[in-house]
């Protein structure tokens, strides 16, 4: 799953076709920036909707035990439709679908967030080194990135599953590795740009150490694009986890995961089609909520969209 930089933009301030714009003479004070950004974000109704859905799914994951046991079999209530006792029905072993969806949310959110954090933890330092020191370090890291990119996500994941065995941990590792190139590239690109900025040059002239310059001046300014990249990576990882689990290379039954639920539902497509609907809706909503929030963040933080 490759992530291409996507300059998607929503409503930007209307402006004439080029520079001769209306005079925006007095820039708003610096300390009001965060409030202004929040206002911009909340003006986008779709992004707010995404945020709400995201919070709902997160609370579903946190409060999963409230929805009952995901593994209690009831062979007297197999493949049932929605009812008061089972709002989303039951599966082939009589297990409550809602409870399994809730526990599946835990797996999905874990996989999505952990894989993204893993990719950031490795990718951001590599990108910083490549962009800041240039030279041979950049060369080595860039070739390493090319090498990673040469392995399509599923080929890599299948290979890793074969070597390490199928498990949630290994799914996270596979997803993290495939998300690595994007983070290296985004960070490297930002640092290359920031290096030329006056305040960085000024810090260098003042004799600040590399570590200080990177942590104080460079990294804080690269946060916006990294945040946007993270909101793109999480939904990809969520879908990636479901794909691997669906194929049987990820989370193993009986642990409930949206992917394994779909895999099991495949067998009963004609008898209980709804069984194949719920987990898919859950995956789509989870991914959609992150994508909506990501689009909102991009529009809010992208300085180009502000002009």
């Amino acid at each position: 799953m490759t992530t291409a930089p996507d300059g998607e933009r929503g409503t930007t301030a209307a402006a004439p076709m080029s520079q001769p714009g209306p005079a925006m003479a007095v820039p708003p004070p610096r300390q009001r920036r965060s409030r202004r950004l929040l206002k911009r974000f909340f003006r986008r109704r779709l992004s707010v909707f995404g945020l709400v859905v995201l919070l709902l799914i997160l609370s579903l994951a946190v409060f999963a035990p409230l929805f009952g046991s995901p593994s209690r079999n009831d062979f007297g209530a197999v493949l049932l439709g929605p009812s008061a006792a089972h709002p989303l029905g039951t599966d082939d072993l009589g297990r409550d679908t809602l409870a399994r969806i809730a526990y599946g949310a835990r797996v999905s959110m874990q996989a999505g967030v952990m894989a993204t954090l893993l990719a950031m933890a490795v990718g951001v330092p590599l990108g910083l080194i490549a962009g800041y020191y240039r030279g041979w370090a950049d060369l080595v890291i860039s070739r390493f990135t090319d090498l990673l990119l040469a392995f399509p996500f599923l080929i890599l994941a299948v290979g890793l599953a074969a070597i390490l065995g199928p498990s949630l941990r290994n799914v996270v590792i596979a997803l993290g590795i495939s998300a690595l190139p994007s983070f290296i590239r985004v960070t490297r690109g930002e640092v290359l740009g920031l290096r030329e900025q006056d305040y960085v040059a000024g810090a260098v002239a003042d004799g600040a150490g590399d570590g200080r310059i990177l942590s104080r001046y460079v990294l804080p300014n690269a946060i916006s694009p990294l945040l946007v990249q993270a909101t793109v990576t999480v939904p990809e990882a969520i879908i990636g986890e479901s794909v691997l689990s669906f194929l049987g290379l990820g989370v193993q039954p009986p642990t409930p995961s949206w992917g394994t639920m779909l895999s099991a539902a495949q067998t009963f497509l004609t008898q209980a089609p709804l069984l194949a609907v719920w987990p898919g809706v859950a995956i789509a909503l989870a991914a959609l909520s992150f994508n909506l929030v990501g689009d909102g963040l991009r529009d809010t933080l992208d300085p180009k969209a502000t002009s």
């Binding site: 402006a15 004439p16 080029s18 001769p20 209306p22 007095v26």
Partner: protein, 341 residues
């Protein structure tokens, strides 16, 4: 009694303006409400004349220029009249307007580095306008493109015509832009800061070409600039703009010799040898005036320069100063006009 027949460039009768902009107003709809970019600009341009629109950035001069051939984004609301040889361009349908653009009125933009399409050769970009308006064949248009490159003094035009923009220097690209603009012999050329992005050494060459076009082809030019050196060098008449309003208008020698509006005085304040009028250092920028250009969130009934003005009195904020002659042929919108002492 016979009057001698005078031979002159094809143009309307002497006092009939070629381009007449009347009470032009431009408003932009933005996320944060309307912006009043241009508020009632009027000027006339005769054939072969060069008029300069001057002011700090954000004063509305570029928006005025772009409004003339209808090049503003759809978020702009333009009112008033823009009469080109008696025809109101604001009344034309998009299709009629396209027939005028590039043919009767053409544009040279500020950014030579980005105003040419990187994907096509210089020749193709010149041919395009010739094929569109003159109906030339590709071959004829190519031959004409070489001539035009020669006209704007590009060396080795036969070779350059097949090159891509990235192979040309900034100065050469701006010449190509001018070649495109004059390809169909327009009546009016609008040049928006044509030399701002160029090195000082190259600026003079581009200005010479503009002057020659006026002298040889009789092209009238609307020159947008904030460079007083360029104004003195090239313009016949000047409109000084501030916060979307015209604040003073005069013939160039008159303006430099007897500036009336305090804003104009401020602009000229740091310029040496004001008495000698046009003898200015090329490349000189407008002098810094304390204060900021106001955000154009409204079009208030008062003098918009008052907050920065040293001559301010109560009357300045009570009503809008009318643009009325304070010297012959020299209007200024100020309740306290006069040269700075």
């Amino acid at each position: 009694m016979t009057t001698p027949v005078t031979v002159r460039a094809p143009q309307p009768s002497g006092d009939y303006p070629l381009l007449s902009v009347q009470d032009l107003r431009v408003r932009f709809a933005t996320e944060d409400g309307p912006v009043f970019a241009v508020n009632g600009v009027s000027f006339d341009l005769r054939a072969g004349e060069i008029i300069a629109l001057v002011g700090e950035s954000g004063c509305g001069k570029s928006v005025t220029a772009m409004a003339v051939p209808g090049l503003l984004a759809p978020t702009a609301t333009v009112t008033g009249r823009v009469l080109l040889a008696g025809r109101d361009l604001l009344e034309l349908t998009p299709k009629e307007l396209r027939a005028v653009r590039g043919k009767e009125i053409s544009f040279v933009f500020q950014e030579p580095m980005t105003s040419l399409n990187p994907a096509f050769t210089v020749g193709k970009q010149i041919r395009e306008v010739l094929q569109r308006h003159e109906g030339l064949s590709k071959k004829a248009a190519q031959a004409r493109a070489v001539e035009l490159l020669q006209l704007v003094r590009i060396p080795a035009p036969e070779r350059r015509v097949d090159e891509y923009p990235h192979q040309l220097s900034g100065g050469m690209r701006q010449r190509v832009m001018i070649a495109i603009a004059v390809a169909c012999g327009p009546k009016v050329l609008v040049a928006d800061e044509p030399t701002t992005a160029l090195d000082v050494t190259i600026q003079a060459g581009v200005l010479d070409i503009l002057r020659d076009l006026r002298d040889e082809l009789g092209t009238a030019i609307v020159l947008i600039t904030h460079d007083l050196g360029v104004v003195a060098d090239l313009a016949d008449r000047v409109v000084v703009m501030y916060a979307g309003r015209p604040v003073e208008q005069a013939e160039v020698h008159e303006l430099f010799a007897h500036p009336q509006h305090p804003y104009t005085n401020g602009l000229l304040g740091a310029v040496p040898h004001r008495e000698q009028g046009v003898e200015l250092v090329a490349g000189r920028r407008l002098a810094e005036i304390p204060g900021l250009v106001p955000a154009l969130r409204s079009d208030p009934d008062e003098c918009v320069f008052a907050p920065r003005c040293s001559r301010r009195t109560d009357v300045c904020t009570s009503r809008r100063p009318p643009l009325e002659p304070v010297r012959p042929g020299h209007p200024a919108a100020c309740f306290h006009p006069g040269e700075a002492s």
